[in-house]
Symmetry: C2
Subunit: 208 residues, 2 copies
C-alpha cells in the first residue's frame, strides 16, 4: 500500500503520474468499502425502524382488541362490567404506548434512516457517476493518442496530423476536467463520511 | 334469549329439561364466543411479543454493525479514530437498549403470552372435550331409548326387555355424569375467564 496522503492534489491531476494513479486507487478502494458498509448499515437501520414501526402497529391492534371485548356482547355478560372497565383502562394505557411507539418510528425514519439514504443516493452515487465519466474520458484520450501515434510520418499528412493533435489535446482537456471533479468528490467524501456515519446514530439516540 | 342465570344447577342435570337445555345453549354460545375472542387476543399478543423480540434482534445486529466499522480497516483510516470511538460508544448504548428489549420480550413471553396460551390449552380445551363426551353420551342414551321403545310387546321378550332397560339406565347414568362434569366446567369458565382476560394485560403492564 502506498504512503497514504489524505488528499488527492488537484495539481497532480494534469500530470496523471503513476504515483497519482496509485493514490487514486487507494481512494477508490476506500469509497468502495464505504459503499459496502453504508449498504449494510442502512439495512440494519431499516430493520430497527421496521421493528419500531411494527411495534406501533401491534400495540394499536392490541388497544382495539381490548375494546372489542365489550362489543362481543357475551350472553353471560353479567359480572363482566368489571372486566370491561379494566380492559378499557388497559386499552387506554396501550393506546398511549402506541402513540409513543409510532412517534418513535417516525423520528427514526426522519433522523436515522433518511440521512443515510441521502448520503447513499447523493454522495456515493455522485462518486460512481464521476468515476464512470472519468473512465470514459480516459479511454477516449487513450484512443486519440493511439490514433495519433499510428499516423504515417509523410509530409502530406501535416493537416491530418494537426487535426489529430487537436483531438488529443481536446480529449486530454476533457479527461483533466473529469479527473478534477472526481478528485474533488473523493476528497469531499473523506469529510462527509464522518458526518454520514454519525448522523443516523445521533438521530437514533435523540429519538430514544 | 332466555333469562340468564349465572350458573347451570347440577341438580337440573338429572331431569335434563328443555329449560336446562336452553340455558346450556346460552353457556355454550358464551364459551364459543370466548374461544373466538381468546384466539384473536392471543394472535395480537403474539404480534406484540414478536415486534418486541424483533426489536431486540435488530438492536443486537445494529450494535454489532457499529463495531464492524473498525474492522473494515478503511485504507484512508487516518482521522477515522474519532469516528471509531464514537461508533463504539453508540454500540455500547445500543447494546444496553438491546438487553432491555430482549429482557422485555422474555417477560412478555412469560407473563403475557404464556398465561393466555395456558387458558386456551387447559380451560377451553377441557370444555370442548367435555362437550364432545357429553354429546356422545347423549347419543348413546337416545339410541338405547329408541331400541327399547321398538321392542315388541310380547311376553317372551321379558328377558330382553329387562336387558334393554338396564342399558337405558346405564347410558342415562353415563350421560348424567358427563353432563355434571360439563356443567361444572362451564360454570367454572365464567369465573376463570375474568382472570384469563386480565392476567396477560397485568403481565404486559408490569413488563413495561
Amino acid at each position: 500500500m502506498p504512503a497514504v496522503h489524505h488528499k488527492l492534489l488537484l495539481e497532480d491531476a494534469l500530470q496523471d503520474s503513476p504515483q497519482t494513479r496509485s493514490l487514486l486507487s487507494v481512494f477508490e478502494e476506500d469509497s468502495g468499502n464505504l459503499t459496502e458498509y453504508t449498504n449494510q448499515l442502512l439495512q440494519t437501520l431499516q430493520r430497527v425502524f421496521g421493528a419500531q414501526s411494527e411495534m406501533g402497529l401491534a400495540t394499536e391492534q392490541l388497544s382495539r382488541q381490548l375494546l372489542d371485548y365489550e362489543k362481543k356482547n357475551f350472553a353471560l355478560g353479567k359480572g363482566d362490567e368489571e372486566v370491561i372497565t379494566t380492559l378499557q383502562s388497559f386499552a387506554k394505557t396501550v393506546g398511549e404506548l402506541n402513540s409513543l411507539h409510532s412517534g418513535l418510528a417516525n423520528q427514526m425514519a426522519d433522523s436515522m434512516v433518511f440521512p443515510l439514504i441521502q448520503f447513499r443516493e447523493k454522495d456515493l452515487t455522485e462518486i460512481s457517476t464521476l468515476k464512470e465519466i472519468f473512465g470514459i474520458a480516459t479511454d477516449e484520450h487513450e484512443a486519440a493518442m493511439v490514433k495519433y501515434s499510428r499516423l504515417p510520418k509523410k509530409k502530406e499528412n501535416e493537416k491530418l496530423k494537426a487535426d489529430m493533435m487537436k483531438e488529443v489535446a481536446y480529449t486530454r482537456r476533457k479527461q483533466h476536467q473529469a479527473s478534477l471533479q472526481y478528485y474533488c468528490a473523493l476528497n469531499a467524501l473523506q469529510y462527509r463520511k464522518r458526518v454520514a456515519m454519525l448522523e443516523p446514530m445521533l438521530g437514533y439516540t435523540q429519538a430514544q
